[in-house]
């Protein structure tokens, strides 16, 4: 399954920015079975890195218990015009990086 782009929304409020990220990923646990009884291989995001103007502000380590099409939200110091970049890597070595400017 090809990973689609992330939807990132970054909005400013005072001297803080609120970042909301929705990723497209199956987050397969490795515990489910397909209709013919075969275990569906685990496939989930393991690492997430969020940067603002190329400076790391948030990193995350995930297991398969994070929901399918993961969503997360965080706040950081920032201002309009800053570049928010989010990357993920999954257990199969696939990765995706998307960025957005704070509005």
């Amino acid at each position: 399954m090809a990973a689609g782009p992330m939807r990132i929304r970054a909005s400013v409020s005072g001297d803080e920015i609120n970042v909301r990220v929705l990723m497209a990923h199956p987050m397969e646990t490795g515990q489910r079975k397909d209709p013919s009884g075969n275990v569906i291989e685990a496939h989930y995001i393991t690492d997430v890195v969020a940067t603002i103007n190329d400076k790391i502000v948030l990193t995350a380590e995930w297991g398969p218990a994070v929901s399918t099409n993961p969503y997360f939200e965080f706040n950081a110091k920032g201002k309009a015009g800053d570049t928010v970049k989010v990357k993920w890597v999954d257990n199969k070595g696939e990765s995706r990086e998307d960025s957005v400017q704070v509005k």
């Binding site: 790391i56 380590e61 993961p70 890597v89």
Partner: protein, 156 residues
């Protein structure tokens, strides 16, 4: 996708992100080894083993931590959890779901500039206590909440 980068990533599951980050110069060498430091803890099946692997020997109850989650989750596949820590120097937050096959669900690390607040969605196989552990100033603090699940999110 850059085919060379793919080759590098396939070199090792744990080394994948490190190679990627180091490759783009995002991480200084000293920081490289900090990423995915707790890979083994994600595979453990018992809560106390996970805590041990994470280096949690004792955790103070409560403190200034606010956990927002539903009492009853209709769909265990998507359970929203939100955490806000008012503890000074909050470094990271761990989400543990006691009765999941592997209790450790996620760890978020806050770096300079981030506010100690995070919101995400997790899967729950059945009704369970959910623990949030906060590491602040090198000490651990925990909050617990029981979430009832009417439809499990891990079965097939």
């Amino acid at each position: 996708m850059d085919s060379k980068r793919r080759t590098v990533l396939q070199g090792g599951a744990g080394a994948g992100l490190l190679a990627l980050l180091a490759g783009v110069g995002l991480l200084k060498p000293s920081e490289v080894f900090a990423a995915r430091a707790n890979d083994a803890a994600f595979k453990l099946e018992k809560l106390d083993e996970v805590l041990k692997a994470l280096g949690v020997t004792s955790a103070a109850e409560g403190g200034d931590i606010v956990l927002t989650a539903p009492d009853i989750a209709e769909n265990g596949a998507v359970v929203p959890v939100e955490l806000e820590s008012k503890l000074p120097n909050t470094e990271s937050v761990m989400v543990l779901i006691e009765k999941n096959p592997t209790p450790l669900a996620a760890i978020f690390h806050f770096h300079e500039g981030a506010l100690p607040r995070v919101k995400t969605r997790v899967k729950m196989g059945q009704s369970s206590d959910v623990y949030l552990l906060v590491k602040a100033d090198g000490k651990f603090y925990q909050v617990k909440k029981e979430i009832k699940v009417t439809l499990g999110g891990c079965g097939g």
